[in-house]
């Protein structure tokens, strides 16, 4: 049975979607069967990294949540259809799927107004694990601790919390860690992103690990080159020798090492 890996951050802007896309790609390149579900229905974004636009996208998670289709009909095969950039070309033939959220304004506002059935989402995720015979199901969550996010955390086998080395992220992450422990999430892993190069990374790792009493799988530098690239590709595939990419592979290996 595959593992559910939720990628979460208390606040927005931590680089969560980019991290999720890169981690899932790296794990898939290890020969694992991997899917990503974009549950950030309010502000979807990960599809762009895989070169998906409204036309290419077809059915979305929103259609499933409105019971208009089955979850397997929404999974877009990245390794088959999205190898049209320098980085993503390396995913050709790899078992990686993406379940995108709708980017249509009306469908987003509809979910915001009426909410959705979190139990249905859970059923969809469990079905996806089975029908695609997944090793890993990555969930890109909405920041904060709303009901949908709490559900993703609750059903995770692995929870990756991303934080920047700043005061607000520290405080919010502390509460999220407490919630994860209260929900008995079996594996909690921290990842620090956007650390300025002048910081002592080892010191940050130590501080964070001690404060939260949880392992820190990586301290990743603020990546101006990633911002520079725009959200058009999978950075760690396009620039594998970049310090950010190296540190990210360390996090991917930490996920793979979890029993």
């Amino acid at each position: 049975m595959g593992k559910i890996v939720s990628i979460h951050s208390f606040r927005g802007g931590t680089g969560k979607s980019n991290t999720t896309a890169n981690l899932a790609s790296q794990v898939a390149l290890h020969g694992k069967r991997v899917a990503i579900v974009d549950t950030d229905i309010q502000s979807p974004g990960i599809h762009v990294l895989f070169g998906l636009d409204e036309k290419k996208m077809g059915k979305t998670l929103n259609d499933f949540l409105h019971r208009k289709c089955e979850i397997k009909d929404v999974a877009f095969s990245v390794g088959e259809f999205a190898t049209d950039s320098e980085g993503r070309a390396k995913l050709a033939g790899v078992n990686l799927w993406l379940v995108p959220s709708s980017i249509r304004g009306r469908e987003i506002s509809d979910v915001l107004r009426n909410g959705y059935d979190v139990n249905l989402l859970n059923e969809g995720l469990q079905t996806l694990l089975k029908v695609l015979d997944l090793d890993y199901l990555f969930i890109d969550t909405h920041p904060g601790l709303n009901e949908e996010t709490l559900l993703s955390i609750a059903i995770s086998d692995v929870l990756i919390l991303i934080l920047r080395p700043d005061q607000q992220d520290f405080q919010g992450t502390a509460v999220t860690v407490d919630i994860a422990r209260s929900l008995d999430v079996p594996n909690l892993v921290l990842m620090v992103n956007k650390a300025l190069m002048r910081y002592d990374f080892e010191d940050i790792r130590k501080q964070v690990s001690e404060k939260f009493n949880a392992p820190v799988a990586g301290v990743l530098p603020l990546n101006e080159d990633l911002a520079d690239m725009g959200s058009v590709d999978i950075f760690s595939l396009r620039y594998p020798d970049h310090p950010w990419s190296k540190a990210l592979r360390g996090v991917a290996e930490a996920i793979l090492a979890i029993e």
């Binding site: 709490l150 059903i155 910081y199 404060k211």
Partner: protein, 246 residues
């Protein structure tokens, strides 16, 4: 020849530490010169055939940039020596010297200097000793500078406190270029270390604290709902189901 003139000659690095008898012999050959304000003592590129000690007044050392504009490199006043090395190496003047005020100078021509050398061969040996000592001194500091540079590259500034005394002493004898280099080097290291300390300070300011009271309060707010109680039970059930399926 006046004692004052001998004292002035001693200021030339070339003549430092020479015995009085030799300085007297040199002072015999010194002639007085006078410049009106704006008058050039020599121009850049002229043959270096004499050394000068300024007795009175001020001069400007000037060069020209690529556009032909005058660049003031330095100003010199009473007691300062111009061009002592040219007595030995005869290199062309590297800059021009122009009087700012009316200037009285003492001039020792190279030919006269060589004449003294002929009758006083021990002068040559004395000067060679001086050069040799300076060379050793400079080499020592160059070696130290190399060593320190390597330590800086490793982020090790422990030598700074050790050289502090040396360099403060060196600044006093500003005649010597090696001492000046040492002093400049020391200032550079202090600057770099200061900036690095500032950055470390910023990192320390970044020491992150968690407000434990707020943490507890927010946790209680989030977990006190029916939804949460339900979720916890449900999550346990889902995990159990998935394990059973394995």
């Amino acid at each position: 020849m006046s004692d004052e003139m001998i004292l002035n000659l001693k200021k030339a690095v070339l003549f430092q530490g020479l015995p009085g008898s030799l300085l007297e012999a040199l002072a015999e050959k010194v002639i007085k010169a006078h410049l009106e304000p704006g008058q050039a003592l020599f121009h850049k590129g002229d043959a270096g055939d004499a050394l000068y000690v300024i007795d009175n007044g001020r001069v400007r050392i000037v060069s020209e940039n690529a556009n032909g504009e005058q660049l003031v490199l330095n100003e010199c006043g009473p007691g300062e020596v111009i061009g002592d090395m040219s007595l030995i190496d005869q290199e062309p003047r590297s800059a021009s010297v122009i009087a700012i005020t009316a200037v009285e100078l003492l001039q020792l021509k190279r030919d006269d200097f060589l004449e003294v050398l002929k009758v006083q061969p021990s002068l040559a040996l004395d000067i060679m000793r001086r050069f040799s000592a300076r060379l050793r001194f400079n080499t020592t500091y160059i070696e130290k500078a190399i060593d320190w540079s390597k330590q800086i590259a490793k982020g090790d500034y422990s030598f700074v406190d050790q050289i502090k005394a040396v360099s403060e002493e060196a600044v006093l004898s500003n005649e010597d270029k090696a001492s000046q280099l040492l002093s400049a080097f020391f200032q550079l290291v202090q600057g770099v270390k200061g900036r690095e300390d500032d950055l470390k300070q910023q990192l320390q300011k970044l020491t992150l604290e968690i407000d434990e009271a707020r943490r507890k309060q927010e946790f209680e707010e989030l977990t006190s709902t029916d939804f949460y109680a339900n979720l916890k039970a449900q999550a346990a059930k889902i995990r159990q189901q998935r394990q059973d399926n394995q």
